[in-house]
Symmetry: C2
């Protein structure tokens, strides 16, 4: 591996680790973080690993006002043999740069960023939990730091990576959830930022999500912003339907995030010779398929939950139940295969795993 220059300042005050069998999501952070700065004319500089610490910004920093920021999310797993594995991290770095382009943020060196990420995990290797269902969630993010109130791209940025040991996303294990189809609010639209992993998309999603939860749903199913007709995503996940033996997922149209789990599921299905197609699918078509008895399974895909089966869908005053509110065989098979590859218990025919060297 190419050697890069990263200054490492170890913490002299290590935190107490939480009980790894009682982890929740995104509340506990490790002892260190990676940080690197960008200054116009100088490029990215001062890559360093430092004790986990607050970020201090001028109140006029562009991030606070104009949200110029992008992020990524991936996981590191501890295998039975105490190896630390990442899942397709190069895809995250590529997507980070695609997001950067959309947000007019200077690109990063993907190889270097991956090197830095591994180095940080190696420093905090004792934080990678090994209890079943747990992992180390990795959050790289870049944000505009220039103190300036004009609306234009920042001349200064920070790139930070933080690590958080996490438990299973759904406490009760993989269990079908109830989903409300969102008819009023939209998450993103063609020409907007939906296919970039940027803060504003998530801010836009909070209200619908919040309202749905109050009504007993765990997520919303988003429809497209142009016609409020075509299915886009479910919560912060991509979505798949098994209809009459064929697996259908909404095609990438510029407003859907290109999920790495989504891509992996498509590749797995192709490998298994299960028919899978990326195309437009309207909410009418989905409900019609159900009425004809052809909607066999529905599930979301994403790094956090891996696979999240959908048991009930509510739209326009009608509720439909998918696969008797049980996890379908395909969702189960994909979940087992993906987590098997991710955690090192299964073969990795695709070469998706990347080992983190800890010595």
């Amino acid at each position: 591996m190419k050697e890069y220059q990263i200054d490492v300042q170890l913490s002299s005050n290590l935190k107490e680790k939480p009980a790894f069998d009682q982890l929740s999501f995104g509340t506990v952070f490790t002892d260190h973080m990676f940080i690197m700065d960008y200054t116009e004319g100088m490029g990215w500089h001062d890559a360093r690993i430092v004790p986990y610490q607050p970020i201090s910004l001028d109140p006029s920093a562009i991030i606070f006002h104009y949200g110029q920021t992008v992020f990524e999310g991936l996981k590191a797993y501890n295998t039975k043999d105490n190896e630390i594995l990442l899942f397709r991290p190069d895809e995250n770095m590529k997507r980070l740069n695609r997001s950067n382009k959309r947000l007019v943020i200077p690109e990063i060196d993907e190889d270097f960023a991956l090197y830095a990420l591994k180095k940080l995990i190696a420093v905090d290797k004792d934080w990678v939990p090994s209890v079943e269902g747990t992992s180390l969630y990795v959050r790289p993010f870049i944000f505009a730091t220039e103190p300036y109130l004009g609306v234009r791209p920042s001349a200064q940025y920070s790139f930070v990576i933080i690590l958080s040991p996490v438990g299973a996303y759904y406490k009760e294990g993989i269990n079908p959830v109830k989903i409300a189809v969102e008819g009023d609010f939209v998450r993103a639209v063609k020409g907007g930022t939906g296919n970039a992993k940027t803060a504003g998309n998530y801010a836009a999603s909070l209200k619908a999500q919040h309202d749905a939860e109050k009504q007993g749903y765990s997520q919303v199913l988003w429809l497209d912003g142009r016609e409020n007709k075509y299915i886009e995503e479910v919560g912060s996940m991509n979505v798949f339907f098994k209809i009459d033996g064929e697996v259908v997922t909404p095609e990438l149209n510029g407003s859907i995030l290109e999920g790495i789990t989504r891509k992996s599921v498509i590749e797995l299905l192709q490998y298994w010779n299960i028919p899978v197609v990326e195309r437009k699918i309207s909410i009418e078509e989905l409900f019609a398929a159900h009425h004809e008895g052809k909607l066999e399974e529905a599930f979301g895909t994403g790094t956090a939950a891996v696979i999240s089966p959908i048991g009930e869908l509510s739209w326009n005053g009608e509720k439909i139940t998918v696969n008797n509110l049980e996890t379908g065989p395909l969702a189960k098979k994909i979940y087992d295969s993906l987590t098997g590859i991710q955690t090192g218990v299964a073969e990795d025919p695709f070469g998706w795993r990347v080992v983190v060297e800890t010595e």
Copy 2:
């Protein structure tokens, strides 16, 4: 005026003030800032005025990842008689709360927020410039501070107000600008966050704006996100057209920001008995009106520039010139009237001015 409790900690190290005749926009900040925190179960608390200082946040603070934030922008003016005037600040506080609702941020007490804003200006009153065209730009903003990586509304927030003495927005005075009609990117869509003043809208706008500037335009004209057909806004301003003696501005449709300057312009026009209508207007209609010799004037409206005449519009490879690239008589009349009211040189028949008590 009702008295509220605000702790004031004055700076012992006052900054040197910039030359007030050489100010730009949004780069220089005053000696103090207002800050107040929100904690779930406690509400808003610890309102204080403190020396202008960095904001320190956990790297996992929700603002960095999910952009849960809203802001406002208004100006304070120094009159010839050394009175400090605000322009319809109650409207900003109302809009802040409307934005809060959309972003699932707890509402603020509008009266208290206005009181705090005035108090902060009074503390930094020597920073309100009095040179022609200058003002004190006021930036209230609220952002999610809870350290948590889950996607849901934050349980903690800060509300901050900062002040920046600013020069005229367009250095060369009010002068017509060249605008590119944006055909690919969109700023906002119905069901999204376009009518809230929230960071993600501005992040989404950077790329189109950046590309337009590279091609010699100063802003883009945004079309709607559903059909890419109807005119929405220009840059970060609302937009007006005078067509065949009638003034037309896009109707509020959920994706357009409800500008306070827009509202004031409509009220002024009505007061003057100049026909003004809020309705859908397509880009085809606008270009057709030009071809028929009926497009008399075009201008943007917003707090920063007040009125910004549009001299040239480029769309689909065609360039049209409005009013010979000169500021039209209506734009000039509105600009003079609004700035006259704002700076105290003209009558205020609408009661739009609010005095900041400095003793």
